[in-house]
């Protein structure tokens, strides 16, 4: 299943712009969630997102594990966000006004971190699902939720197959997120340069 992503990477490396567009559709939210996870401003997070995608364009042909693109993007965006956060923190040292503005954080940083991890893991898994499942899950998670009749029409599926397909896709998604959580933390995972 994950090889759908690998095929898109290989096609994009060969110059297929539509394949690139599909990779962006699948994973822009992963990169964006990561870019924002260390508390950067929206402008800085936008820069981090752009750098991450430019890096991918540059490395398309040399990725060790194209199938694991989701993890590669999350790690690259995370590292770049940390870099930029450090630079912004350095600015705080020399700019008391920015520092004062930065002090007013009422959120619990640990809870926020855990939530971000869960969000990114889930978004990575969603991006790796087969197209049919992604469409169905996106429609199911729409706000407000759609009825099976509406889903059947939108996805051009027999109404009787929506329930079983939904169950199968959710089981697959659950397996992917559990697998991601049981492996080491993303950053550690990617620094292994296996295969």
């Amino acid at each position: 299943m994950a090889s759908e992503v690998g095929e898109l990477v290989r096609a994009a490396a060969g110059g297929d712009e539509a394949a690139w567009g599909e990779l962006v559709d699948r994973f822009a939210s992963v990169v964006w969630a990561r870019a924002r996870s260390v508390g950067l401003s929206a402008t800085a997070a936008a820069d981090v997102s752009q750098t991450t995608w430019l890096r991918l364009a540059e490395h398309l042909g040399t990725l060790r594990e194209p199938d694991r693109l989701a993890g590669w993007l999350a790690v690259t965006a995370h590292r770049e966000a940390v870099r930029v956060a450090r630079l912004e923190a350095r600015m705080l040292l020399v700019d008391p006004w920015t520092e004062l503005a930065g002090l007013s954080t009422e959120e619990d940083p640990v809870a926020r971190l855990v939530e971000t991890e869960q969000t990114v893991v889930l978004l990575e898994a969603l991006g790796q699902m087969p197209t049919r499942c992604r469409e169905l899950l996106a429609a199911l998670a729409g706000d407000p939720p759609k009825t099976y009749e509406e889903l059947a029409r939108q996805l051009d599926m027999p109404i009787g197959s929506i329930g079983p397909t939904r169950a199968r896709c959710l089981a697959r998604l659950r397996a992917l997120v559990l697998e991601a959580e049981n492996s080491d933390y993303e950053v550690a995972k990617s620094s292994r340069s296996s295969e």
Binding site: G21, A33, W53, L54, V114, E117, D143, P145, L178
Partner: protein, 154 residues
């Protein structure tokens, strides 16, 4: 604690998807930038990899440099190295190619580009540099060398 979230009912998983997707939906501009990155991919130049960044690689030095509001990055290929110091306020880049080589240097900050040439010692300067994703492309007049740095965020 984290695992229980995924071991719940299918309805809970669908709710989690709804929340994750709605919280992380990137603005249109972000998606467009990501799409546009494809047209900037390098197909000819050799990549000079980032091998030092004072923002993360050297805490002591970074602290010293912080006093002067500058960040150092260096990039490397087997044949040459490229070091840049980025000064803040106003942001400017002072760079050097080693060994010193007459080269044309293009600072790429999509969608803009600026071009300078090195002096006889391999130095070059970009003034009034904006924040954002950036890469340098460097080539010799005779085309023996054509190098592009990894993308970084300035």
């Amino acid at each position: 604690m984290m695992r229980s979230r995924w071991s719940g009912t299918d309805e809970e998983l669908v709710d989690a998807i709804r929340v994750a997707v709605s919280e992380s939906e990137p603005p249109d501009g972000i998606v467009q930038q990501a799409r546009a990155a494809f047209s900037l991919r390098n197909v000819v130049a050799q990549i000079a990899e980032l091998d030092f960044d004072s923002a993360i690689d050297d805490d002591d030095l970074a602290r010293v440099r912080a006093t002067f509001g500058s960040r150092r990055l260096s990039f490397r290929t087997p044949a040459l190295s490229l070091t840049i110091d980025i000064r803040d306020r106003p942001r400017r880049i002072v760079g050097r190619i080693e060994p010193p080589t007459p080269m044309t240097i293009v600072l790429r900050q999509p969608p803009a580009e600026w071009t300078v040439t090195t002096d006889e010692h391999g130095y070059f300067i970009f003034e009034q540099v904006a924040a954002g994703a950036a890469s340098l492309r460097c080539w010799t007049p005779e085309g023996q060398s054509d190098v592009e740095t990894e993308w970084v965020t300035l």
